[in-house]
Every structure is written in structure tokens, then in C-alpha cells.
Symmetry: C2
Subunit: 455 residues, 2 copies
Amino acid sequence: MHTCTKANLPRVDALSEPFINRLRKAVAIPSISAEDERRQDVFKMGDFLASELEAVGAQVEKRYLGKQPHKEHLDLPPVILARYGNDSSKRTILVYGHYDVQPAKKEDGWATEPFELSIDEKGRMYGRGSTDDKGPVLGWLNVIEAHRIAGISFPVNLLMCFEGMEEYGSEGLDEFVREESRRYFAGIDAVCISDNYWLGTEKPCLTYGIRGCSYYSVCISGPSQDLHSGVFGGSAQEPMTDLVRVLGSLVDTHGVIQIPGLMDLVAPITDEEKAIYTDISFTMNNLYESLGSTTAIFDDKERTLMARWRYPSLSIHGIEGAFSSPGAKTVIPAKVIGKFSIRTVPDMEPDDVDKLVFKFLKDEFAKLGSKNTLEVSLQHSGKWWVADPKHWNYSAASKAAEHVWGVKPDLTREGGSIPITLTFEEATGKNVLLLPIGSSTDGAHSTNEKLDKKN
Amino acid sequence: MHTCTKANLPRVDALSEPFINRLRKAVAIPSISAEDERRQDVFKMGDFLASELEAVGAQVEKRYLGKQPHKEHLDLPPVILARYGNDSSKRTILVYGHYDVQPAKKEDGWATEPFELSIDEKGRMYGRGSTDDKGPVLGWLNVIEAHRIAGISFPVNLLMCFEGMEEYGSEGLDEFVREESRRYFAGIDAVCISDNYWLGTEKPCLTYGIRGCSYYSVCISGPSQDLHSGVFGGSAQEPMTDLVRVLGSLVDTHGVIQIPGLMDLVAPITDEEKAIYTDISFTMNNLYESLGSTTAIFDDKERTLMARWRYPSLSIHGIEGAFSSPGAKTVIPAKVIGKFSIRTVPDMEPDDVDKLVFKFLKDEFAKLGSKNTLEVSLQHSGKWWVADPKHWNYSAASKAAEHVWGVKPDLTREGGSIPITLTFEEATGKNVLLLPIGSSTDGAHSTNEKLDKKN
Ligand SMILES: [Zn+2]
Ligand SMILES: [Zn+2]
Ligand SMILES: [Zn+2]
Ligand SMILES: [Zn+2]
């Protein structure tokens, strides 16, 4: 069986004390990549991971990426590369994960110490990094060890690539992956990334698509400094008046994007694709729970999931330069910058999207007849990614997951971006599988992050 | 001559060294009412003012207002009451001013120390409080002294009321004025307030009107917490989408308020009133200079000044709860609060304005067909004020100003609110005159605040 899944062993192994102890030690290292004063802990976590990998029999290399851009006083933590198995008759799977974590403080609302693994009676293991992404990373070590203990030969060769800067934008990784695709990663057959989540809590998923994101700024300016509305209200054209009108023209309450031509870029849906959505284990109540409200656009599962995964969406995030504090201030802001982004899907080319967006905003602004100045810019864009879920990488993973969980995993996509996915696909040219380990309630990036033992 | 103006003496007096030294001592006391740790300096300034008043022959009382609401560890500084003259054959003028100042720090961009009076070669006296409002307050002492030195009997009885909390909302003053209107202030004939500015720099003004202000919050909420736009974009109705649409419906680029019925509340303009605007010394370049741009709504003086003073205006100030920092954040804000205000004019009753605003916002929101929740509230409202500029209080002041400056002062109004004006008018029932001392370029509340010696 050629598969990238670690799930093809008796589940009882995952519960064994040594595995939990390893996670406990990892969680105890506060490897927060975003905090300068924690950088030494990120290095410490890299060392810990490297020595644990060696202990299970992998060949390990630490690869240093130099100084951190814009923070030259900091060294970037190493990428930990590891190889397990080198049998040319087996497929080679490249595995990605990250060993850094989001910041966490007890006072933010954690019920337990964030950097102490706490296990409750339901087998929920609480601690920063438990599900994002130390738990899933150490899962690969668990599965290697479980095979060794059981005396079963490992079904594939594993190449592992674990970085320590994911939560701070994966500084330096893009270039590293492109370089190594011709060296260390040459000869791999597929890629497997465990850094996302099940759609729900009960059924495993394999993720084959991610939306892209194009993020824009609309700046409208007029006077040279903020004005007092008592003194100038009525005599000056106000940039804020123009901005809310322009932003208000982008999308309606029902999520319908008003930019002409934009929807024409979207790939038409096929019957085969439609069928995937019907099967997925998801209910509107799942959505209402995550929203904490019933303010959904659609009232059926299929359209809701398609709107999240395979259709574009436009969100207005906020306005920079206007009054944004509690209370009252009678200011006429001189320069305001609206921020919005479009989640993109196949076959929307980012350049085409930009052109339509820029033209639309200019046209809408022109309609106002304003003397103010409009400037539109793209802040960043990341492309969508979609894999072929009929590839052997997916069918093998699906079989393995079914073996463990007794149920065929759902084929899902993600609404948000995991930019490294596209990097791996483009650099290696191979099929990429996102294999989520944690469940939808794990609270990655939140307080009380956890991983269930069963996962 | 019955007049409230201090300007009816040879101008040379205003330049005399003792007068400047008195202002120098006053500026040196950082009587910042908004900063807790400066409260003792506000008291010190009150003491200084009281003893200076006694020195020129006034009878002085300090009136304490108790603890500061919401900051019970702080005592409110005293209102300094003073009487100069008690001749029943003369009119009695109540004079108002304040001896506290706005915060100021050298590093904010002051060319000189803010709490050291610095005089340049053009006779501009720089220092916090020089024009707002220590300079004008001490001007009353100067004029009393100048009369004494010249041996001219003072033309009116003066009652003075100087507070120390104006820059922090005049805490406690409203009630105090209402109480004292039946006691200390009983028997006054008119009120004179020197706490605003000339329209320009060359021609004196008498101010007979101020717009009111009704400040509103529009809150739109949906999900129970902020959402990630990648995950939820397309599946949830977004409060921010609704809010920009609702805010965008309030007013257009040309300042035309879109709320039905609102303009019907505005008093029609008379021919007499129109004539006042033609005479006022003001050019479009004056406006362009203050804006730092030519993004004006009108291109003629008359309509510009009317739009600032005698017609309502609507300004959108900002949005609370959305992303407002530089950079990019892909948040769907769960709850956003738009802030806007309407400057009101005769005969708009604040209650009527509220009703029209609330109805309009509810109607506009209903049009969206949104499942989100809208809540509208009035944050605060202050009523407009307008006096009869043909009252003897104005004609006397006008004659006096003409005597000093050689030119009839312009009759102006203010776009912004000076709420104490209305309090004095309502409490005393007498004509109120705003007699600006400083010029439009003085920079009250800004860095490098100054007062010209000639003023
Ligand atoms: Zn992660
Ligand atoms: Zn993460
Ligand atoms: Zn003032
Ligand atoms: Zn002030």
C-alpha cells in the first residue's frame, strides 16, 4: 500500500504514553516565532525535533536560512529535513509541517497553562501547538515508531520538511523549497501536508483545494490634514463620504460581487463536482455553531460549502485613517484607506482580477463627480490551488483513513489560503495532499487549543 | 458707551510690558485639565488668576464644584467669579472665559517650549493658552488696568466667570451657571464670551450664531465573534458590507443630505441675511488654504459660508470594530459601529432630527434584506444657537471694534459648537455675544499656538 497516511496502524498506538510524553515535552517549549525574545525557544524546539527524529531512526539535517529579513538581529530557525527509508521500490512522500506556534498567554483566557499539556477525562489534550502543528508533526514520528514496534515495514519512503517560521509568514521557506526541489526533494512522488483541520469533529477529510486571496487598498484623499466637522462640514468634499460609497458598490448583503466580468472568470461547475458536495458530512447547524449566529447567506449545505470553497467571495475588512475608537470624535478624516479582499478560485488569474477590480473602482469613483483623489493598489495576492482528488495519493490516503476510522473521508477544500501548498506543488510538480489531523473544534490560533487523543 | 468690548482704548496699551509679563506667567503654568497629574497646576492657575483680578481691583470669589464625575479622586478646579464695578446706572456684562488649556508637548512639533511664552519679530506670542483662552481672559484685566491708568471710568459693570475645565467638557459648569443665574448672575444685561476666532487674520468679527451637533452610532452585528474571511467569506452575511451601504446612503459627495424631510426643518433664508454674507471679508483662497486643497463643495464665498454656518452638514467620522491599522488583515468583523454627525441649524429641533435619522437608517437597512442586526443610537446632541445681531450688545461691540481697528467687524457665525453659549443664553435669558480675540491662524488646540500682540 502506497500512502502518505500515518493512519494505517491500530489506533491504540496513538494513545500510548511515550507518544503523549513526546507531545508534552514539545508543548513545554514556547517556540513562538512572532516574538523576538522567544527565538531561542524556536531553536530549542528545532533541536528537540531533530533529536527525536534521529531517535526513531531518521537521517536528519538542519538547514539554516540566515538572518530574518527586516529583523537582522534575529537568526531564522533551521528547516529540519529528515529522511526515513530509501527503498527505490517504494514511493517517496514529502511531508511538511511546522514546529513554531502562535503566541499564547494564560491571561488571554486559557483554562490551563498554555505551555503545559493538560489532558481532560474526554482525552482532549490542551496546549499551544497541540493541534497546530506540533501534534501532527510528532504524529509522523509516532507512526514510524509504531511500525517499528509492530515489526511492519514502512510502506513508503518519507522525506520530512519541518519549518520554524510558519506562524510568521514562513520567512525564507519559499526560496528554500524551490532550491531543494532540484536537490533534497528531487525524486519525490507526492506531497502531504498536515496543517489544516477536519470540516467537523467526527469524520476525517482529505483536502484537495484552497482558495487564493487578492487583497486591495482603496485610498481616497482630499484635504492636507484632518478637519473639524463643525468648522468645515458642508464646505469640503469628504473622502470618507466617497469611500463608503465606493466600498458599498463592491458586494451586496447576499455576497453577490458587483464587479462586472468577475464571475465570468470562474470555472463552471461539473456534475462530478456537484456530487462531491452532496456526500459531505456537514449541516447548516455546523455553520451556525461556528458563526455563533444564523446570519448565513444560504440555507442549504451544498450552496454554503460551494460559496466557501469553489466560488469567490469579497470581504470588506476595514478603513484606515478614519476615527476607529469607542466614543465620539467630530473629525473629517483627510485620507482614508479602505481594505478589502477577494477570495479567488479556478480559473481566476490574479492579473485579470486586478484589472477588473481597478477598472470597477475607478468607474464607481468617477460616477461620484468628486474632486478628491482615488488610488487603488493590490496589497498582496496568493493564488488558489486545487489538486486532482482522483490521484493515487488521494485514493491511498482515503483507503488508509477508511481503514482506521471505518468511514470514507470527505473530500473537502479550504476557503482560506495555505500558501505553502502552492509553493510545494509548483516547485515539485507533484500532487499535493492536505491531510488534516485535528478537528474543527481544536481552536488553532485561539485560546485553549487542543487535540483529541483519538485524532 | 455701553459695550462689552475691551477694545475701546488706544491699542498701544495692549503692547505694554506688564501685560505681556502677566501672560508669560500664565502660560508658564501648565493648567491642562485633561491630565490628572496636572490638576494641581489648574488649581495654581486659578489662584494666579484670582490674585491678578484682585490686584486690578475686582472682588473675587472662588467657587468649588466638588469631585470630578467618574474620576472621584480628583477635585474640580474652582470657577473664579469676579465683579468689577457696581454702578446701577451702567449696564452689567457677564464675561466668560477659561483658564485651563489643551495638552502640549515640545515633541509634538512645537518650535518653542509650549509653556514658555516666546515672542517673534512679528509680534506673534507663542505658547499654550496664548489664544485659547488665557490671552483673551487676561485681556479683560488689561482693559480694566488700561482704564485705571488712563483715568477713564469703566463704561460697564463687569461680572466675570472663568472656569478651569473647559477643555475637558466644562464638568459641572452647566449646573453652576443655571444656579447662579438666579444669584450671582442675576441682573446682568448681556453676556460676552471670548473663546473663538476671527474668520481671517485682518478683520475683527462678532459672532452671532453657532451650529448644533447631533452625533449618531449605527451598529450592525451578526456573528458572535470575528471570522476569518478565507474560511467564512461567501457563507456569512457580513456586517461591514451592510454598514458601508447604509453609511453610503446618508450624504453624497456634494454634501447633499439624503435623509427625507431633514432640509424641511431648516429656516428659510431672508434677504437681510443674504446681505450679511455678501459683505463678509472671505475668499475661496482662504478656504483652500485651511483645507490645504481645492476640494471644496462650492466655488463661491456666499454658498461656502452659508454651508458652514447656516445649513446643516453630515460627516461620517469612522467605523469602530473593523480593521483600522496599516497593513492587511483578512478579518470579517462581527460587529461594526459607524459614527456620523449632523451639524444642525435653526429651526431644526434635535428630537425631530433624531426621528428622521432613525427612520431613514432603518428603512435603508431594511432594503438590504439582511439577517444582521441594526441598532442606531444618539451619542450626544448639542443645540444650535443664534443671537440677534441687531441687539445693542452687538452694535456697541461693533462700534468699539470699528474705533480700534478702523473697520466695521464682520458678522459671522461658527460651524462648530461652543455649548456653553447656549447654557448662558438659556440660563440668563440675555443676549450673548461671541467676541473673538484671536485670529484664524492662531492654532488653538494645535502645536505652536500663538496670539498676535496687535490682537
Ligand atoms: Zn499551522
Ligand atoms: Zn497556525
Ligand atoms: Zn477655548
Ligand atoms: Zn479650546
